[in-house]
Symmetry: C2
């Protein structure tokens, strides 16, 4: 009761092609057909292992992009996080968040991804803020500001945002 094993080469080729096409054409213009073609694989091979483009991208992110380590310093943590989000990866995660709005099954996985990042920030903030500050709300406001800017594009997500957020939070404990 066993057949041909899953091709690890095809899997990596698909995940790699997904990210590459994303960077070249933008998340919204990437199609599953395009991913399969760029990866030199059949379309069914993609559909067999992932239900949607978003799921492919999410796995590609976790495989090829390492998340910022849990730095102890808030400013450093935010610098790493915002540097990553402001670049090509930012375009992907924004597309994923947009797709999550029309795909509840994927939204669940997206929340898992988001939650891991929330935990990392929470671990930093718990050492930075006073004990009587609402930690969950602080996480919402920091990452909220980041996502808000990523999606609405009224201001960049960059080093200066990390500085400003850091000084803003410092005021809470004075």
């Amino acid at each position: 009761m066993a057949g041909r094993p899953r091709s690890e080469a095809s899997r990596r080729a698909i995940l790699r092609a997904a990210l590459d096409l994303c960077e070249r054409d933008g998340y919204q213009n990437v199609t599953l057909k395009g991913i399969a073609q760029a990866a030199g694989t059949g379309r069914q091979t993609v559909y067999r292992w992932w239900p949607t483009k978003a799921e492919v991208m999410l796995e590609a992110l976790t495989v090829f992009v390492e998340a910022p380590t849990g730095s102890e310093d808030l400013r450093t943590f935010l610098l790493e996080t915002f540097r990553l989000s402001g670049g090509a990866v930012g375009g992907v995660v924004v597309g994923l968040m947009a797709d999550a709005q029309s795909d509840e099954a994927f939204a669940v996985h997206m929340r898992g991804f988001i939650d891991s990042r929330r935990q990392a920030l929470r671990a930093v903030l718990v050492r930075t803020l006073s004990a009587d500050v609402d930690l969950e709300l602080a996480v919402d406001m920091v990452f909220g500001a980041m996502w808000y800017r990523l999606m609405n594009r009224h201001a960049p997500v960059d080093e200066s945002l990390a500085d400003e957020v850091t000084t803003m939070l410092a005021r809470l404990s004075s």
Copy 2:
């Protein structure tokens, strides 16, 4: 050099049908074909005046939903805003934000909509916060937290959020 004037009845029927279908089926499941059909109008009549579903919805919001007035009290302002965003309107604006990620022309209009709300909050915050607090960042963090919760759905946008944000901001000026 004048022809038949635009039918105001059709315009209102389309905007009304757009919101009604949104509430019944959810933003993502609404199609332009469905809107035209529900409004009892031809499809071309919709396309003649709006390029996309998102533009129809945005106009429908501004016509049928009145924005919270610029209350002087921060907590009251947030209560009104969050009560609106937490209901059926929240589902629409989230859908619009998602669509804006794949339609740059609409994203420009969306930023205009967002910016009017930012100005309203800014007007309240400038009377609430100390003069040396970064006002733009404060707006980003407050509305950011709201949008973050609306899109990721890890926590509700309700009265308690308004309370928590109000007390959090009060700490900045102590």
